[in-house]
Symmetry: C2
């Protein structure tokens, strides 16, 4: 074995929260192993946080913790800056400053990259630096590396991902424990799988951030959040999860990026009924999984922990090593992401989208109601693929009627739902959830 | 977006079989896309094969196909040589020649790397070149990249892999269609999922080749085939798959690399009963999947096509791009694999291994037989975890008795099996298959 000289790399870390603590821990504990494996010795030069007193789960060497970002910026021996502050305001300023101070940036900040990625990439290029962000999507799963390098010879046709552990934890528990949304949410909060303010997760916003990053890499176009249709899980009722299951479906919040045969790109995040026996349906609790369909390789699937202290830190440290070896820079320099203006016309508008749907109405238990629903759907060119009617179990003598459809244009479905909502023999608003038929790559 | 000058790279390919055709096809068809995405334009400079007349599923530009390896070696404009000849003799010579002619090597040749990897790596280093081999394990799944870069911050504790599509196809069909081994094998051959001479696959040898490569990267030690305990699937009876299923298990040929708490390394390939509800149990047909347990990230799992023309070509072309960008070289230079002599004492001997076992004996249907079997196991300190006795259905009035055990030393099991084989109330040899409890990484 050829001897390779050990390279010492001083790392500056901004944001000493949960992930920051994990990164500090990994750098300190794995320094010898990384030096032996990769010839790179990481040194934690400084850790910047406004709070320098709160106890953390890792003990830093004396003098490393500081509240002064300038110490990091001014130290020319620090070549890599890790931004783990989160958010899109202070974090953006910190990344700009680090790039302009000549440091490569490693980050887990999906919100920032999804909203200001193009601007950040430009500043990085202007300063001859790179930004590495493996930790921004799917935590510890080396997903971005897979898309950017492992699948580089493929045209990516589609991605279907469970990329938000909080939502998957809640939906899993609503399904397996027959819990209401509110109960499952408070359980998730009690166990640390949901934040005190869970809005960004539940609304689908966090998944959309990740989808914007993944889709831009996979398709080579700058994707804006505005290009993504987003629906959250806040109004999901456990009854619909149960009825769906009876019809062979499992409910997941999916982030989907798909190229149609006509070359249109569909980008969406929404609750999705998927076949209960498919791989993504079996992803339980806070785990993430992403199925990617490549033109040469067919389906590949990646599974693991999408969040948490050490899994996310694993991805951050992998990026630091990749930056240090120069690989990130090369990949970053060559990564061509065309401006959004070029992609604009390719993005499918949700009004034009075609999906299968699950519809549930609460019908008065009287003759002819199902027929009237069917009539309305038929009037809008909507073809029914299945019906499930349970015996009376709703409020005020109503019965739930569940209807699944064949492929239907969103436009037609919206019109039919409007009409259904106006029927006096139905109580409340109809429930409507998309059914997603994930293609199956199987032996032939 | 900064403009990056396009880099033209001339590639020489040796071996114009199935995968070679796929690589040629991808290089020709994806040249523009790769140039746009990565700033690298691949050019197929020559394709070397002894057979220059047989029709292939891809049309090469005129003058590219040749039977003369020297044309590739002598052409200094060719910087990357792809070896897809296979085998361990001619292929080895070809790789040596390409490295000494100053070309980086990309290969899918697991047999060669598993048997002569250390020597090839040495010659590559002496010549300032690198060898990239993502395609050697698990076909199109970017697995080696994940271990080497994505999980670099982790100490790998264990890997459990289905890495041979032929065996998984056969075992899947024996299970789902209740087919005998011979029938499932000839079906696999008819459909192109098994070769005319399937010995290397069925014996577990091919899986062992892949395990040697994966384990050497994951653990950082040169692993020899002699370090791996290997058992094939040739003698698996469909009845045992059925009885195992009744007890909650699915039968897979697993490649396993595991570090024990005492730091010992266990390396094996053998038929394995695994919990029917675990992720690997659900991998059907010719697909591959690998579960990796990292110290920081926990479990990650990778799934996809482990063989075939385009999936393997996808990995080969990804490696070519990685070589061209210089990433492979850096990773290769820094990849420290300690010599086998240092690992020798760490490798667990199979005699010392501790496993759970599934045992099936064909017992005369008379009183006291099960008790005598239990007595023999007890005499050897083997504790029973489950028993399944079906009513008479074997030949000559025998009944199958299935016993599963708690953790048992291989040494004790071998002694007990010897004694069981000598019992006159049993017909034939006892069947013995390992049960593997794959750890579950779940939310707590």
């Amino acid at each position: 074995v050829a001897k390779v000289d050990e390279k010492r790399i001083r790392v500056g870390l901004v944001g000493f929260g949960i992930v920051g603590s994990g990164v500090a821990k990994l750098i300190c504990e794995q320094a010898d192993a990384l030096a032996a494996k990769m010839g790179v010795r990481l040194e934690l030069a400084c850790v910047v946080d406004v709070d320098t007193t709160r106890p953390r789960p890792v003990k830093l060497p004396a003098g490393v913790l500081t509240s002064d970002l300038n110490r990091l910026l001014a130290d020319e021996t620090i070549t890599v800056g890790v931004e783990l502050v989160g958010g899109t305001t202070i974090a953006k300023d910190i990344q700009f400053k680090m790039l302009r101070a000549g440091k490569d940036v490693v980050t887990a900040n999906k919100a920032l990259l999804a909203t200001h990625g193009a601007e950040l990439y430009r500043v990085a290029r202007e300063n001859g630096r790179c930004i590495a962000f493996e930790a921004s999507c799917a935590g510890g799963i080396p997903l971005i590396g897979a898309i950017r390098t492992g699948l580089v010879a493929n045209s990516i046709n589609a991605m279907y991902g469970i990329v938000n552990g909080t939502c998957n934890y809640i939906l899993s528990n609503m399904s397996s424990k027959d819990e209401d949304f509110a109960v499952a949410l408070s359980q998730a909060q009690a166990k640390g799988f949901a934040e005190a303010n869970p809005t960004l997760d539940l609304s689908g916003g966090d998944s959309a951030h990740k989808l914007a990053i993944l889709a831009s890499i996979a398709f080579g176009y700058e994707v804006s959040l505005e290009d993504i249709f987003v629906q959250g899980i806040e109004s999901i009722a456990k009854d619909d999860i149960r009825y769906g299951r009876e019809m062979g479906y499992s409910l997941k919040l999916l982030a989907i990026a798909r190229r149609s045969d006509e070359g249109k790109i569909s980008l969406r995040v929404h609750p999705s009924f998927i076949a209960a026996d498919c791989a993504l349906a079996r992803v339980e609790g806070s785990f993430n999984a992403i199925s990617i369909f490549g033109s040469a390789v067919g389906e590949t699937l990646y599974y693991g922990r999408g969040a948490g202290m050490m899994p996310t830190a694993s991805a951050v440290v992998a990026d630091i090593v990749d930056v240090v070896l120069g690989n990130s820079k090369r990949t970053f320099d060559h990564l061509l992401i065309r401006p959004r203006s070029e992609a604009q016309s390719l993005i499918e508008r949700i009004e034009d989208s075609v999906d299968r749907f699950y519809i549930r109405v609460m019908a008065q238990d009287q003759p002819g109601v199902v027929a009237r629903c069917g009539q309305i759907l038929g009037d809008h060119q909507i073809s029914i693929s299945g019906v499930l009617q349970h015996e009376g179990c709703g409020p005020n003598g109503t019965v739930p009627v569940v209807i699944t459809t064949h492929n239907t244009r969103q436009h037609d479905m919206a019109a039919a739902l409007d009409e259904l909502a106006g029927l006096d023999v139905l109580a409340g608003e109809p429930v409507c959830i998309r059914i997603v038929d994930i293609p199956e790559d199987r032996d032939t």
